[in-house]
Symmetry: C2
């Protein structure tokens, strides 16, 4: 395929770990005229985006903005600003994105300890408590991934920040696959530094990293012994561009911010509670359908993620062949496994526009056809109907 063929891009149904399906309204927002990054009209859009991000994050934090990079740039910003060389950092590693966080923190010169959790499980708060109590010296930061995209586990967060704060650490959380699909509740849960991405439950193309940090975190940033090594992601400078001062830092990715503004406007119109309920219903329908087809889910229902489901690849079935047929014959993308799950697990997203009955039945009926199984679609429809009150 060559780019120059204008009909070369088909409409894929994106049911993998992201990017998720993007509405034409959001895609067309990027086609609007480009404004200068210091134009008063653009600054007004920035204010609106920041305000809506606060609402989706569940925070009154002054600092709430989309960083000019993908979700991974959010991770980078979190560690570049809050992991100082020689500081002790505890990272909960329960999957690939926890591993990356540990890697990125170590690259900043942090003395990283890892609290390992088996892939497919959630952290037990008691385990964290023990680890913090028995630490030789206090940690500056405790970091974890709230919605682990490599395993499909939703880490319960309630009570964790009290524990972390009692031991004098900042609580740093990856909410990439959570934001817009389930409550992040930054203030209620006492999260200090949180990063996310646009291409999952916010239903916006990849390219921006929604980010927020509270006053305790900002105080620590202001007292750093060394300058933030990343000029591009130094939040004390970015804050001056996004805040009232409008200090020029870098040229904002204007068109991407239009997309985010439109995506947030659509979320506002739907309402957060309705949106979260829709994600729960779509995942319940997917789970019912997969199980009715005789497939088994990787994660216990108690900690199963609403936005991304991991399912065991049945014995004797070739991962690559099935995903290739889904893509080429049905126009549907699902994700393969990463790390230890490679070739053993599929990852099916129900994110944003994909968290509806129709895309769920489409992926199930395609799987039924390819795997020669039945009952999935029927079970999904029934589950969708019976969860309407959720």
């Amino acid at each position: 395929m060559a780019w120059s063929d204008p009909n070369s891009i088909p409409e894929r149904l994106l049911m993998g770990p992201g990017p998720s399906p993007v509405s034409s309204a959001v895609r067309l927002a990027m086609a609007r005229p480009v404004l200068g990054h210091l134009d008063p009209l653009f600054l007004a859009i920035m204010d609106e985006v920041a305000e809506q991000l606060r609402w989706v994050f569940g925070t009154k934090n002054r600092l709430a903005l989309p960083l000019s990079g993908t979700g991974s740039a959010g991770m980078e910003a979190a560690v570049a600003n809050w992991v100082e060389p020689g500081h002790r950092i505890l990272v909960v590693v329960a999957g690939l994105f926890g591993q990356r966080l540990a890697d990125a923190a170590a690259r900043q010169g942090g003395l990283v300890d890892v609290l390992e959790v088996p892939w497919g499980s959630a952290l037990d708060p008691g385990q964290l408590e023990t680890r913090l109590r028995e630490a030789a010296a206090p940690y500056a930061v405790v970091a974890l991934v709230m919605a682990e995209t490599s395993t499909g586990v939703l880490q319960p967060l309630d009570g964790l920040s009290d524990l972390v704060h009692r031991h004098g650490a900042l609580f740093l959380v990856d909410a990439v696959t959570a934001i817009g699909g389930m409550p992040v509740d930054v203030d209620r849960r006492g999260l200090d530094v949180v990063y996310a991405g646009t291409q999952k439950c916010l239903a916006v193309p990849p390219g921006l990293a929604p980010f927020t940090a509270g006053e305790a975190a900002l105080d620590i940033l202001r007292r750093r012994a060394t300058p933030v090594p990343s000029w591009y992601l130094d939040l004390s400078m970015l804050e001056r561009y996004w805040g009232g001062e409008r200090f020029y830092h870098h040229t904002a990715p204007v068109s991407m911010i239009y997309a985010l503004a439109e995506g947030l406007r659509r979320i506002r119109a739907e309402g957060l509670d309705a949106r979260f309920a829709r994600h729960r219903r779509a995942s319940a329908a997917l789970w019912a359908g997969l199980q009715a087809m005789g497939l088994s889910l990787v994660v216990d229902a108690a900690v199963r993620l609403f936005s991304l489901t991991t399912v065991h690849i049945p014995e004797g079935v070739d991962d690559t062949v099935v995903r290739g047929r889904l893509l080429n014959e049905f126009g549907i993308e699902i994700g393969g496994g990463l790390g230890p799950f490679k070739g053993r697990v599929w990852r099916i997203g129900t994110m944003g526009e994909g968290a509806q009955l129709e895309p769920v039945t489409r992926v199930l009926s395609a799987l039924e056809a390819i795997l020669h199984r039945t009952g999935g679609v029927e079970a999904a429809v029934l589950a969708w109907q019976t969860t309407s009150g959720v």
Copy 2:
């Protein structure tokens, strides 16, 4: 203005230092369906983008890709990968973007020396030679800005890389305001590490940083004593995603890459030589017009940048009032001065779609009206006509 009003974004004529005007073809490219970042169809587009970037950069370098951030992320990547803690770095500072480069390199732990050049002037190669010869110890990197957006100076590069290489250093060059408007000629000029941006002469919205590095630079990267502190911008990992291996690193900003693909396709259709000539003609027309109105240009003709012109604000004229009237009454954005040029200089871009006669006469006629001057438009039209053979 609220985002939710669909008619809220006017068509500004962007004649400042960038973003430059973006064609509807490029803007609409972002509205195409989103593909997954590992979809074979998207990988084919990535290959095409990399190949066209090589052509625009003037290089056969294997590593040529758009980084997932704005031009400043390109600067960050250059220093994060090639400035190791304790290494001696020489930065030529002839304006704000040179200062930033020095700042960013120092944040990486580089021992940064600055070769200061007065704002509005170019570096004299003899000065660099003396500095390199008299250095107490060899520099690992010599860095400079090719097209200084804060001053409007085009730094002549011919011969510099020989000088830098003779002294055992890598040559690192900022080509943000050059790429697509004038030859960068990476291979012919022997540039080792080069970063750029999309929102200037490439006529694509801000959000990506075209980047290239040669084998000598990659050898040094492979022999680093410490890991690259930035996980997000570690080129040894990014190379594995953009290269044949397709190793998953981060979710590429798919829609922005569509915009770049379309922008590069348009450049291909125009031809590089024709495009460079168009930038020369448009700037010549602008210069003639400004001078005919009695305004004086900041930079000597010999080192004046084709894509961005700095002009002295006449005595008694209020910078903010004039720029405000241009924006609000004429829908035209030009740039104010930065640093020592603040309030004293305007910056007028002739970049990409803005490098044509019509936008130049629009900005000149608006300035004529606001400043009560005449002759600018007439002189510009004449200059455009007489330079048609350039």
